[in-house]
Structure formats: structure tokens, C-alpha cells
Symmetry: C2
Subunit: 114 residues, 2 copies
Amino acid sequence: MKDNLDVACENVHSFIQDTLYVVNGKWKLVILSILVNNGTKRFGELSRESGISPRILSKELHELELNQLVSRRVCDTKPVTVEYSSTEYAETLKEVIGAMIRWGQNHRKKIKGQ
Amino acid sequence: MKDNLDVACENVHSFIQDTLYVVNGKWKLVILSILVNNGTKRFGELSRESGISPRILSKELHELELNQLVSRRVCDTKPVTVEYSSTEYAETLKEVIGAMIRWGQNHRKKIKGQ
DNA sequence: GTAACCAGTTACAAAGTAGTAAGTAGTTAC
DNA sequence: GTAACTACTTACTACTTTGTAACTGGTTAC
């Protein structure tokens, strides 16, 4: 026991909680997966593509920025636009995001088959 | 773009949502990480070790059972005890759980260093 | 000046989530 | 019979999260 994951800590679950604290809610990992996979997006693009309403999107992006997972850049285009990108630190979440994408794909297959 | 994770789907984020739908909330991944890492636990043990109150724990275990991630076994001991184990299907979540544990560890290190 | 586009924000309502505290039910030890 | 242990369940409360709809403020095109 305890060695089936390459971690041998007694309170392994506290690390899970730390991670969940940062990427909590319905949307943060969705936003990050879009930015990490597809690159920079504007506010409106993100809202349309993810289906997140402006209010929520704005809040989530603020929180992601606080945790240095997303960076915001204002462009002086004719109607001002704002670009959001995933940071270098967000790249460290790729493993988590990738694992969740693969599990979701597999799970959908499993559910369909039943 | 789009090839930095080994998935090339337009709506990769919908798979994330599928996964989140199954392991949503503050506690499901914590419970699973305990069962996957430490093996079978009784109801009371799980409650004490995780700090989850009986009400919530009961609810979460029911939902995990519905999704075939946890199995319940009643033992006819003197005061009846109930054993909860992670299922084979839960093993497929190891990648997700492991990734989150490693990220949590790394993140805690990063926060401390700042 | 009116309409349109962008990036939000505000007010409000609804729904979901978590927690506490106490109770139930069955068995056992004294 | 009373207390204690197990595994829950119930009632109630409080808080958080999410959503909708409408509005702000700045710029441009007609």
C-alpha cells in the first residue's frame, strides 16, 4: 500500500485540496484548457467558445490572474480589445489538464457503451 | 497550436467538463485519493482521516458508488461495520489524482518560496 | 446622433454546497 | 437497563456559486 502512486506522504489528500483550492469551480480548468491548447484569446472569444457568461468569466479570470495562471494584455485596437493568455506557470498544469481530458474521453466512451 | 496536448479535438474543454461532473465538489477526489492510495477504509475511518462530516461523507460516497468508482461492503462484525474500497474503474483516475497531488506539492513549494 | 462593437460591471434571484447538531437503529458489554 | 460503538439520516441554517438581464463607458462607422 501507499506506494502505488509515486508519493509516500501520509496526507497526500492535503495536496489534492491545495490543487482544488486553486482550480476550484466549474470553469477554471475549462478556461485554462482552452488557453493552454489554443493559445491567446480575447474576452469575447473566450466567453462565446466556453459558454461562460461575462460576469462569471470576468471573476474567474481575475482569480486565475491572482494565481499567476493567466496574464491579461490590453491592446489599443479601435474598439479596445483584451487578450488573455496562459502563463508559463499554467504550463505546469498541463499534466492535470491532459489527464482530465483523457479521462473524460474514456468515460464518455464507457457511458455510451452501457 | 492544438497539438501541445495529445488531443486534437475542437471541444477539448467538454471532456474536462465531463470529468468535473463526475468528480465535482470539494471532497470526491480527496476520498478517492485516500481509497486508491491506502486501500479499503471503514466509514468512521474515512470520516476521521479526511475531516468530512458524516452527512457529507455519506452523500459523496453514494454519488461515487453510482458512478462505480467506490464499492460498499457490509461486514457482519459485532457492531456492524461497512468497508469502502475504490473500484477497478477508479484506478483509471490514478493519472488525474497523481497529477493533482504532484501539482499540489509543487505549488505549495512555490508559495512557500515567495 | 444613432447604432454597433468591445470589455466588462451591477443588481438581483436561484440553486447548489457545506456544516452543525441531534436523532435513529442495531448490537454488545457491564 | 444504561452506556457505548457502529453507520448512518434528518432538520435546519448559512454560505457560496452560478446565472440572467440590464447597464456603463469608450470608440468607430454612417
